[in-house]
């Protein structure tokens, strides 16, 4: 009798574990949305979601007559968690199209995973490591949000010529996206004649920057900072408390709205910081303004969309346009959708966006400077637009590939 009961219990448990996948109605399309909803980049992930939802609301949540159903997946910025979340979305929830992930190495890991599922179409979120698309790309991975080196277009030259910085130290997080950003900055800065005597790499989620701050040479003209979210705020606060006074040059996500909206004295340090990126807050083209207005309708939106919102918006928008063109039909293993996506070209909030042969975007970049708006909020004031930057930064592809894989020690100009 006792055994019998146990058997029943175990049987019940086993059946529960197999949870049959539910059948869904045919007139809806499932899109997976992968972003960092946990960990140090949570704030960024939430803003990415707002961007994606902005694009979805533009079309009223309906594409080609089918209702779009968003299935969310969460990662914590580590490549493992991104792949686990992508696996769940693809293998359990059965999505055929997926938007994401957010962070650099996540993108490389998801690209590798994409190769094992050619029938699923992967559209990048905001991950901006160079090698997601440059070396060994996946045929079903598309990036409409450009990469971190492209984002730096114009900054190195501006810092050297206009600001007069000859010697710059860099502080950046220790993974592929900041490598790409530092690469993009140094490519121009070193070419112009500047030197970078010291590069500090810190782990994501680092709290104590005292040793990093102590290691920055005294005689540098400026510090190039590429830290995101909470890391950026922590470094800037501690640098100021330590009495640091060198002017800053910002990586794209360092002077993003996710950092500029933080409270405290770091605001004073940040004003006047030059930076470059795919967006500029004071861009006054009607397309950008319309995007900002649409974005602000999202719950808990920032005063101005961050570049994560912008990248997720572009990627989601491009995907929705392509889905619309193929009539929402992905039954052919996504073939038609992927062919259409590769040819998508449109005028986004920041100008024309189109893809190159590696399915990486070519788009306008914005050189900016932090300034205080009339309402007391900090904004990235537009200084200059660098039109249609491609992934090889205008160089020939083989020449560009010869520069080597971005990393801690490449490039170097001490």
């Amino acid at each position: 009798m006792r055994i019998h009961r146990r058997t029943l219990l175990a049987l019940a448990l086993a059946t529960g574990l197999t949870a049959p996948s539910l059948a869904f109605a045919e007139d809806s399309i499932k899109i997976g949305l992968l972003a960092t909803f946990e960990g140090p980049f949570t704030v960024l992930g939430e803003d990415g979601e707002r961007g994606a939802m902005t694009a979805l609301e533009e079309v009223g949540g309906v594409v080609a007559g089918k209702k779009v159903e968003i299935v969310k997946g969460s990662s914590d910025a580590s490549p493992d968690s991104a792949v686990r979340a992508a696996r769940k979305l693809v293998e359990q929830d059965g999505v055929k199209v997926l938007v994401g992930p957010l962070s650099g190495d996540e993108g490389i890991a998801v690209k590798d995973y994409a190769k094992t599922h050619p029938e699923v179409t992967f559209v990048n979120g905001s991950s901006a490591a160079q090698d997601t698309t440059l070396r060994d790309p996946a045929a079903n991975f598309f990036r409409f949000g450009t990469d971190g080196a492209q984002w730096m277009a114009g900054l190195g030259t501006y810092a050297y010529n206009e600001k007069g910085y000859k010697k710059v130290a860099t502080v950046a997080e220790d993974y592929s996206f900041p490598y790409t950003q530092v690469f993009g900055f140094m490519a121009e800065f070193c070419k112009a004649g500047g030197t970078v005597p010291s590069k500090s790499w810190v782990p994501i989620g680092n709290k104590d920057y005292s040793s990093v701050i102590a290691a920055i040479p005294d005689d540098v003209d400026a510090i190039y900072v590429a830290l995101g979210g909470a890391d950026g705020v922590n470094f800037l606060t501690q640098y100021q408390q330590a009495g640091g006074s060198a002017p800053l040059i910002g990586g794209s996500i360092t002077v993003d709205q996710t950092v500029l909206t933080s409270k405290g004295k770091i605001r004073d340090v940040l004003v006047g910081t030059p930076s470059a990126g795919p967006i500029a807050d004071t861009n006054d083209t009607p397309q950008w303004k319309a995007f900002v207005d649409a974005y602000k309708k999202q719950p808990n939106a920032f005063p101005s969309p961050s570049l994560f919102a912008h990248a997720y918006y572009l990627d989601m928008k491009a995907l929705l346009m392509a889905l619309n063109d193929v009539g929402g039909d992905v039954s052919d293993g996504g073939k038609k959708l992927q062919e259409t996506l590769a040819k998508v070209s449109f005028d986004g909030p920041t100008g024309k966006v189109s893809l190159d042969k590696n399915r990486n975007a070519i788009a306008d970049m914005y050189l900016t400077e932090v300034s205080e708006g009339t309402d007391g909020n900090l904004y990235n004031k537009l200084v200059k637009v660098v039109p249609q930057v491609n992934q090889t930064l205008g160089m020939a592809e083989d020449e560009f590939l010869k520069l080597g894989v971005v990393g801690r020690d490449n490039p170097s100009c001490p």
Partner: protein, 341 residues
């Protein structure tokens, strides 16, 4: 299960009784599980639970029988994983000597067991909460070390493209073979712990847990017994680490960070530390929660739900799910008395 060879003393016991009918039923059900499960449930839930269960089992072995709560078991598994990546093949372009798996796996397991024993030596003089502190410190230090060391651990991105071996015409990373592979390892580990706990050595370790001073006075080498327990736990965690790296196809500091270390403890606590089945029960519950909580409450609050759920389990039953079962069982037995013929 076969490890439980019947001993000659209580001759009246049949093999069936010795192994326990419950264990056999569970094993048969687990063996039949692939017949009903989708690929996702087979690997991402089934195999992953078995792997995490094994890592937690190594903690349960130390904590349940030895009274030593080590938070560094995930680091031990990680060491095995990194060893596989370094000596086997990877596509990160760092190391990857390409040795065959039948050399790499024993090496990885032994390196992990050695590291575990070393952790045992280091934390030997501590007790209770101080053991937790020192092993947490080791786990944290190892995490940051792997994240910043590029020559050996390849830093933040870690190693990718690590493949499970293919032999006997089977790709062992295909869902069904991989599930059975994990099940096989888990069953061996489970049976070994169950058998070991009743052996002379196992009983000695439990006696050391209860009264180290008396054991020392009786002439037992308390230190050696504890370190050997760490070594055995390291073998189990190491094997699990090998499976984990085959499962993910990659290993990076994210695999072994502090939250992963805490996760292993949560699994053991949720499941219960009195019996080796506890960690596996806990692993199933934790993996299911972590996979599906986001579907229940959405992306913003799913970690809160996971936390609340665990809190409820621990609040209702301090001994975890096993304790819950222990409390229900007498009721069931009584009921069967009443309704029985």
């Amino acid at each position: 299960m076969t490890a439980l060879a019947p001993t000659d003393k209580p001759a009246a016991q049949s093999i069936l009784e010795k192994i326990g009918a419950g264990n056999i039923v569970v094993l048969v059900l687990l063996a039949l599980y692939p017949a009903v499960a989708s690929d996702f449930f087979l690997t991402q839930i089934g195999a992953y639970s078995l792997i995490l269960g094994m890592i937690s089992l190594s903690l349960m072995l130390l904590a349940g029988y030895g009274g030593m709560v080590s938070l560094a078991q995930i680091s031990v598994a990680g060491i095995a994983g990194y060893t596989v990546a370094i000596f086997g093949l990877n596509n990160s372009g760092v190391h990857g000597f390409g040795w065959p798996f039948w050399i790499v796996v024993p090496i990885a397991t032994l390196v992990a067991a050695g590291a575990s024993a070393l952790i045992g030596v280091i934390s030997n003089r501590t007790e209770g909460i101080y053991t937790i502190m020192i092993t947490l410190a080791i786990a944290t230090a190892f995490f940051y070390f792997t994240q910043q060391n590029y020559s050996l651990f390849n830093g933040f991105p870690g190693y990718t493209g690590i493949r499970a071996p293919e032999f006997w015409g089977v790709n062992w990373r295909d869902p069904m073979p991989f599930y059975y592979l994990c099940l096989g390892f888990a069953v061996v580990a489970y049976a070994a712990v169950l058998y070991g706990s009743r052996s002379t050595y196992g009983l000695t370790v439990q006696a050391v847990r209860d009264n180290p001073r008396r054991m020392r006075a009786l002439g037992f080498n308390v230190t050696a017994h504890k370190v050997v327990a760490y070594f055995y736990a390291g073998i189990i965690a190491g094997l699990a680490g090998v499976l984990l790296v085959w499962f993910n196809g990659r290993i990076s500091p994210g695999t072994i960070n502090v939250s992963a270390a805490i996760n292993v403890l949560i699994i053991a606590v949720i499941g219960g530390m009195r019996h080796p089945i506890g960690p596996f029960l806990g692993a199933v519950v934790v993996v299911l929660m972590q996979t599906f909580a986001i579907d229940i409450v959405g992306a913003e609050r799913f970690n809160t739900l996971i936390g609340l759920f665990f809190l409820v389990i621990v609040f209702v039953s301090p001994d975890g799910l096993l304790g819950l079962w222990g409390r229900i069982k007498p009721h069931l037995a009584q009921e069967s008395l009443r309704s029985g013929p």
